[in-house]
Assembly symmetry: C2
Homo-oligomer: 419 residues x 2
């Protein structure tokens, strides 16, 4: 007797890249026929830009416009521009993007930057340039953060990113390893990627429904160097997986995504917390962050590397030393289990529970997208030019949900969901 099992056929790189383009358009954006698409991409990401563009047009896009960024020209500014240059940003372009979103365009970002591109540049210049850009980008970011339109971020294994992750491998091996991780985390290497995403979204929604039903007053994180109580905003809402944007379209804003997240109360965060993964912030690596919160604000901050950039970030504005997001990610999630450090928020924030300094998401308050801004603020939502996620979860961190009466419910033990 013989059995004729069909051997699994390994998918070629080109097929997986095409599937990533398809998932970006169908699951990431949920692009509607007739929509314009505005895409930003590293220069190297052209092959994925082309796959996404084709899938977008096949899905009925009217026009796809891609804004490419070349890292050498970014560096050229630090090398050759006069010092006064670093307070200038391309507001005309960001305002144009905001107009496009208001007029109904979808937005797709391809991540894949060199995580330490700006290492070695003057931190004061880096911080001034970041600040100028954040300020100029604010009108567009508000539309994005408020999900006025459907948007997503996917990623591309650019050589500079891969080299940073796998410094001991030859470049082609490093790129192949990073692609392997991206394709797996983006769920494009199984038999039916769209179905896999449908299932994953359902699981994340089950989790957010449980948390929303619990209506915890706060979360309590405990681990090495960490004893932190994060009060949740009044009327906070947990989100995860897909989102229905203001234009009615269902998008997955991050591909991959493993997190469920909500809005902390800007005045109700207390205690000490230590980062569990390095943070790559606009080209600077910030490692081993240790901060102390009092009544929602960071009152002491240290980092083993990048401390000068971190301290400048905290001075950005009123809201930059307060939290705008708290997110739970199980230690057993696939990105975490890959054991890789991506130096990229899109991946690292989906490998560990995290908090974000700065701007909160209005959709993480009940009916927040349609409520006036001052109502969100009185409920504890934070306002800032920045939104910077950093990782505080690991296999050594426990999380409890605290009820208004002070009682505690175990949520995570050794980094994983209790139930």
């Amino acid at each position: 007797m013989t059995s004729h099992a069909i051997p699994p056929v390994a998918l070629s790189h080109d097929v997986k890249l095409d599937r990533l383009g398809e998932i970006a358009v169908k699951v990431g954006l949920g692009l509607a026929p007739g929509q314009e698409l505005v895409m930003t991409a590293p220069f190297d990401a052209l092959p994925l830009v082309r796959r996404i563009t084709e899938h977008a047009y096949r899905a009925g896009a009217s026009l796809v416009t891609t804004l490419f960024a070349d890292e050498e020209t970014t560096l050229a500014r630090y090398r050759f521009a006069p010092d006064g240059a670093f307070d200038v940003a391309s507001g005309w372009l960001y305002d144009g993007m905001a107009s496009a979103f208001k007029a109904g365009a979808a937005r797709l970002a391809i991540a894949g930057e060199n995580p330490s591109l700006l290492a070695g540049q003057d931190p004061d210049r880096v911080s001034r340039a970041n600040r100028a850009r954040s300020k100029a980008y604010m009108p567009a970011l508000e539309l994005i953060a408020g999900f006025a339109t459907n948007w997503t971020i996917v990623s591309y294994a650019s050589p500079s990113w891969a080299r940073a992750m796998f410094p001991d491998d030859p470049e082609d091996i490093a790129v192949a390893r990073l692609w392997h991780a991206i394709f797996a985390a983006s769920r494009v290497d199984g038999p039916d990627p769209v179905a896999a995403w449908t299932e994953h979204n359902a699981e994340l929604q089950r989790r957010t429904a449980l948390l929303n039903a619990s209506r915890f007053a706060a979360l309590h994180f405990r681990g090495p160097g960490t004893d932190l109580t994060v009060g949740l905003a009044d009327d906070h809402e947990w989100n995860g997986g897909s989102t229905t944007a203001g234009n009615g379209l269902v998008c997955n804003a991050n591909i991959p995504t493993e997190e469920v997240f909500t809005t902390p109360h800007k005045f109700r965060v207390d205690g000490r917390v230590r980062s569990t993964k390095p943070l790559s912030y606009n080209g600077t690596l910030i490692e081993d962050i240790a901060v102390k919160f009092e009544a929602g604000a960071i009152v002491d901050a240290q980092a083993r590397t990048g401390q000068d950039v971190l301290l400048k970030v905290l001075e950005t504005d009123e809201g930059s030393r307060r939290l705008g997001e708290v997110a739970l990610v199980p230690f057993s999630s696939p990105i975490s289990q890959s054991g890789l450090l991506f130096y990229n928020t899109l991946y690292d924030e989906n490998a560990a529970s995290h908090i974000a300094l700065g701007q909160s998401y209005s959709k993480c308050i009940q009916n927040g997208v349609s409520r006036p801004k001052d109502e969100l603020v009185t409920r504890g939502a934070n306002d800032s030019l920045i939104h910077i996620d950093w990782m505080i979860g690991s296999g050594e961190v426990d999380v409890d949900g605290l009820r208004a009466d002070g009682s505690a419910e175990p949520l995570m033990r050794k980094g994983d969901w209790v139930s």
Copy 2:
């Protein structure tokens, strides 16, 4: 006795490319310290973008932003987008560019497109897309055409352009031949490129001074298939070489440039004219154009190839069948003598006398930049969404200047200046 002559040292490609970047910034733009620069470029032109970016920052630019265009994604729209897509343009981006120019940014375009990219696409779609883009680009184009800011166009030998020019050569040879022509025409291969441009600008300005002093009422072109009288606008002004933009900066809008040009009177063009070189218009090749003018308007138009696109172009608006520019270029000019057909207006218009359908340049009327628009119109200036140059000069074409009293002065014989 021996003589120790110093042999000429051949410059490397990299040195010439760097010099082209330097000429683009110093001669083309005349960039001022603190200016922003907005650059558009074919995707392939990255090496030149990097050279220009470095020279711009060295010259004190505050921020250089480059918008890259990838030809494959342009084609993807024609292949995969729904039919309704072709009336849409990225107005948000063009409006953003207009804002940047108003706020003082300089503008640099790198030309190098595949001249027949859209050959074989539905002419109706091509024309609708061109029309939508022209309309959306109008606010930015008006600032450019009115020299509200300093701007320039330079070129890059992209493989698709080189293949179109040299279809019988292997691609690397074709690219090398095109670079040879670009470097020569852009005057970067001599001992002192900036000095060469100073001298060339002085010669063009000597020519425009003579023509402005003559105050001809019309030009008369005679050659095979051509007997055309082009009335000149009242208060017309001849321009050539460098221009002082509205912001006070001196730029060379075209690198290379060999032409002197002015504004025809929109109602005073009569006779027949035949094109002497193919015209590449947004990816369509239009060859052997033959048209008849009456009282300024084209009343009959034919072309051996691309006639359908030509006829649609003429229907763009009121001004699209009237002239906005007439330009004189000697047959002995270096680009003409190269004997090459570039399928690119920047080069081919500088190899032959030409006329342009559509929008006129306000600086080609005396004090035109500061005069209200209706004053320009009453003097004969034309208005249109389009500005399309096509070549009517050759070694067989004579040009006379006609005075108001009907007397004629020979200007060109067999395509060259009489004096």
